[in-house]
Structure formats: structure tokens, C-alpha cells
Amino acid sequence: MNKKSNLLYHLYFGAFLFYMFAPLAIMGGAAFNDNKLPSVYPWKGFTERWFVDLMNDQVMWTSLRNTILVALAVVIISLPIGTAGAILVNSIAGRVRAVLYVVMVAPILMPGAVIGISTLLFWNNVSVPPGLHLSVLGQVSYIAAFVMLLVLARLQSFDQALEEAALDLGASHAQVLRRVLLPHLSPALYAGAAIAFFQSIENFNVTLFTRGTSNTLTVYVFSKVRSGITPTINALALMLIAVTAILALVYELRRRRQAKIEAAREAEARRAEEAMAI
């Protein structure tokens, strides 16, 4: 593709990143603002007290741990469920498909309070006490729909001949799934995992009702609407961002180094090959 339009796309991507990050600057700055309001404005001077508060807040760290455990559980459960759902919707024809699809995506619309309350009541009826496990189930009920939608979009581009080729080579159905279909779906699965993870972290209402006495980060922090949410949460978010950004940087640098080594090796191999041929 030609260079000029590529440049436009690069610029657009840059602008988009700016758009994504501008609000983060606002809220990141708040982590250093000596103001109980989580905002850079009005600026009341530099402070590290929100970081100090964060470090001293044991509940916050426990909540963070809970949050991540719940999110991982949600990812682990909603990936297979969403994928299975997508495959079913993809292979079933006719009216059943439409009904199935509607029932699957409807939970996205369901207000968190409704999911939370209904999950709590239902599992209470079958003698499952509230707790983070219920939060996981409640969250999966609608997060699986995201996975389903992402996988469904990707399934559509799958070349069935590949499945046939694998079967023909003697692979069992499970092997076909693992070696051929899932690798093809992997971009959707990664995106699904990421979206499931972050949606879970985000979740307030469902968790609020189902968590029992445990806290997750969002619930812990955002319960404080009456007294006001303080910038400790900004401090935490900033730290998570920093960790992610550093990981991204390390990955990119390693990749570049790897690529250089790879290229050198390939050139070497080709020279050797050519030398042999002559």
C-alpha cells in the first residue's frame, strides 16, 4: 500500500491514542494533586499522600487481590462458555438460532442490580451462600456474551476445509478443536479474555450484591460515593498502567532484538544454502 495513505493511517492511530490517553492524563495527574477530589483540577499542589494512603490501605490490597482472582475466574469460565455458545449459534440453523442469539446477548442489557439480586436470590434458594464465587457466576452471565460475540465474528472467516483436512489426517474432534479451530479463533479469544478480564474488574453492581463480606476493588472504592472517592484509586490505576506500559516496552524491545537476531540467522542460512548450491 502506498506510503501517503499509510502516513494518514499512522497519524490517525496516533490521534486515537491521544484520545484514549487524554482522560488518563487528567485522572493520572489527580494522583498527585493535594485535593480530596480525584481530579487535576483545581490543582492544590503536589502530594504523594495518595500513594502513601494506598500503600497503607491493607483493605485496598486485599480487594485488589480479590478483584484479580475474580477476574481470572471469570475469564476461565466465560471463555469456554462463550466459545461453546458461539459455535452452537454458528452451526444451528433457523429460528432456534435467532432465539439462542437473543437469549445470549440479552444479559448485556440486564441492569447490574437485577443480575446481582437475581443471582443472589437464586443461589440462595439452592443453599449457595453469597461470596466472591457468586460474583463470578453473576459476572459470567453477561461477560460470556462478549466472548460469544467476538468468537462468532471470527468463526465466520474460518475455512472449514482445514477442519476436514485435520480430520482426514486422523485427528480426533478434540484435536481438531485444539490444533486447528482454536488457533484460528485465538485473536478473538485473546480479545475476549482481555475484555472479560477488564469487564470483571470494572463490575460494581453485580459484585456489590453477591460478594458477601469480601471486597473487590471497585466495590471497595466506589462504595464511598457518600463520603467521596479519594485519589488513592487514581494512584492505584496509575501504578497498574505503569506496570502495563513497562511490560509493553520490554516486550517491544525484546521483540526488536529477537527480530534482528532472526534476520541475521536467516541471512546466514541463505548464504550457506546458496554456497552449497553453487
Partner: protein, 359 residues
């Protein structure tokens, strides 16, 4: 190990369209059998039925004498090379090749070794760690062949495996495939629309048209004694004349055409509306003087050079087109365009055949 395959009155419908129509054929264990036929005649469909991806609408398929209805593709001892190759784009070349072993639980080192061997066999050493997208069309096809060979099946089904290869490589792979087949004794069912390939490689050839099997015979018979006009003209070139036949009872007949009367072979049972006379260009002789019989005065038209032979298109005074093939062996005198010559053929080299098919 190898198994025979029987197709017993096999049909296959897609909706109301019959893609394969009452095909009957017995392929012997260890045989190299080719299906030859024009595009869309149902060759691929037959292969897909044998390997289990389509079920026959009617009829029975037996592999090694056992009815395989209901058996799933991964349970059948067949390996199919797909026409579109169907290589796994997310696996490296060697993983593609060793996939069949992987799913059988073979350990990695062995698989890798086997893959490298097969790569050498298909003339792609050093490609093991490339990705499918890095290969050219022909290279991909060779990987597909290697992948099917890896599982050492009892029946190999090959759907035009060489079509994207260049002549040199194709000839190398032909010989290779043939050698592998002989060595392993595996039954090969080969699909091609390249008659040269079918004739050169196969023990027997089945010629298809519109889902129907027209003739099953060994290559020489197919070429020399086609049962009908379709087979005659699909396999090799022909000069064709329309006319009316009067058999003389001795296996020959007089054939009256608008270019005059000819004489040619005519098998006893031959009937049908559309009877024609077929004679091959290489049996058509150009000379400066007329021959005793079956001789037509012609004007030389296009002279096409095709490598080992030269194809001369001539037109008779009555407007018929006759093509003669001359050997390019140095000694042959190539006629000049516009030259006046006589085209003739031996009665034994020409056959009167029913048209039978609607191609």
C-alpha cells in the same frame, strides 16, 4: 498395507443437481487409479465421498471390502490431498507435515525427523520452520503432498496434487509419487484433468463426464480404443468428421462425409444418433501426393511450435479443419503456411464412434 475400494452404484446429489451419477468401479488394492475428466464433472465429489466428507445419496462405498457408510473421515484409512490444499496457516511447515503423526501421539523429535525427510522427498529441504504464507503456490502443493504421505495411509486420495507445479517438478513428483506408490503398495486414487499425467502414471484410468463414468480401462486402451466420442476427444486430440456409416461386417465401415467417403474401424455394437469419425493428429499424415484412401486435399494454415512436436492446422477445400502433428526431430520438414498438401490417415488408425455425451 493397502485396501481396495469399490464404488457400487454410487450417486451424489446437491439439492436437485446430481453431481455423481451411478458410478460403478472396483479399484484393486495397490492399484494406481486415476479419474480423468473435465472441470465440474464430479471428480472431487467422488474423492470426498471416499474419504467420508460427503455421504453418497445412493449406492455403497466399500474400503477393503467393508461398507464404510457412517464411518467418519478420521476413522477411514485414507489420506486426502485437497484441491485447495487446506494447509494449516497457523502452523509452521514441519508442524503441518507432522500433524497426522502428532495426533497419533508420536513424540516431537521423531515427528521433526520424519517431516525433514518428507521435505527432502518433495524437494523443499530447509523449509521446515517457514510459515505457509511464505511459500509460493507450488511450494505449498509439495507441502500438502508431504503432509498426506506422513500418515502412511492405506488409500491415498489425490485431488490434482500437481496442478500448480512446473513441468520439471511435476515430472519429478510424478516419478516420486509413482515410486512411493510402488514401494508402499498403497492404493492411489488420483484425480487429474491432465490426460498426459493420467496416462503416464496410472494402472487404470476412469474417464468421467457429467457425473457418469464413461470408460474404465488401462491407459493404452483409453487412448487407442475409446468407447465413445467423449473419451476420444477428451483424451488426446482428434480430427472429427460427421457422416453416415455403413459397416462392412469385418470391423470396418464406409463413412460418407461431405468431404467424400472414408473408411475406418467400427466396432460391431456401435449405434446411436451422433456417430462420428475420429482420427488423431499424430495419425494424420501430410504428403505432397494423395494416398490410396482417406485422403483429403488441404491448405496449410497455422503452424504452432509446441516443443517436441509441431502442430499444423490445415483446411480442406470443403472447409473441414484437419490438424496434423509432426515430430520436431530435426529431420521433419515443416510445411509452409499456404502450401497445398494432402492429408490422409490409415483406416486402422481411425475409429467411428457414437457421441453419447453432451459435452
Amino acid at each position: 498395507m493397502s485396501a481396495g475400494i469399490d464404488l457400487d452404484n454410487v450417486c451424489c446429489d446437491f439439492g436437485t443437481f446430481r453431481a455423481v451419477d451411478h458410478v460403478n468401479v472396483s479399484i484393486k488394492p495397490g492399484e494406481f487409479f486415476s479419474f480423468l475428466g473435465p472441470s465440474g464433472c464430479g471428480k472431487t465429489t467422488i474423492l470426498r465421498m471416499i474419504s467420508g466428507f460427503n455421504e453418497p445419496t445412493e449406492g455403497v462405498i466399500r474400503i477393503g471390502g467393508k461398507d464404510v457408510r457412517g464411518q467418519r473421515p478420521n476413522q477411514r484409512p485414507t489420506a486426502l490431498i485437497f484441491q485447495n490444499l487446506a494447509l494449516f496457516p497457523l502452523m509452521s511447515i514441519w508442524e503441518n507435515i507432522s500433524f497426522g503423526l502428532e495426533v497419533r501421539g508420536v513424540d516431537k523429535a521423531t515427528r521433526r525427523k520424519k517431516a525433514e525427510e518428507l521435505l527432502k522427498l518433495v524437494d523443499l529441504p530447509g523449509a521446515a520452520d517457514k510459515m505457509v504464507s511464505q511459500l509460493s503456490g507450488g511450494q505449498k502443493q509439495r507441502v500438502a503432498i508431504a503432509r498426506a504421505l506422513a500418515v502412511e495411509p492405506q488409500v491415498m486420495l489425490l485431488d490434482e496434487p500437481l496442478s500448480a507445479l512446473d513441468l520439471k517438478l511435476r515430472q519429478h513428483m510424478r516419478a516420486e509419487l509413482r515410486a512411493i506408490q510402488k514401494r508402499t503398495g498403497v492404493t492411489f486414487i488420483y484425480i487429474t484433468h491432465d490426460q498426459g499425467e493420467a496416462l503416464a502414471m496410472s494402472d487404470r484410468v476412469g474417464v468421467m463426464s457429467h457425473g457418469r463414468l464413461q470408460q474404465v480401462a488401462d491407459p493404452r486402451d483409453i487412448y487407442n480404443n475409446p468407447v465413445n466420442g467423449f473419451v476420444a476427444s477428451f483424451v488426446g486430440e482428434n480430427n472429427v468428421f460427421s457422416g453416415t456409416a455403413s459397416p462392412d461386417g469385418s470391423g470396418f465401415a464406409r463413412f460418407d462425409t461431405q468431404h467424400g467417403p472414408f473408411r475406418a474401424r467400427m466396432a460391431p455394437g456401435v449405434t446411436g444418433k451422433n456417430i462420428k469419425l475420429y482420427v488423431r493428429p499424430e495419425h494424420t499424415i501430410l504428403s505432397e501426393t494423395p494416398a490410396g484412401e482417406n485422403s483429403v486435399a488441404v491448405t496449410v494454415g497455422d503452424v504452432a511450435f509446441e516443443g517436441n512436436f509441431i502442430s499444423v492446422t490445415t483446411t480442406s477445400d470443403t472447409g473441414a479443419q484437419l490438424v496434423a502433428e509432426l515430430r520436431n526431430d530435426g529431420s521433419t520438414k515443416v510445411p509452409a503456411t499456404g502450401g497445398k498438401l494432402y492429408a490422409s490417415f490409415d483406416a486402422a488408425a481411425a475409429a467411428i464412434l457414437p457421441d453419447e455425451t453432451a459435452v
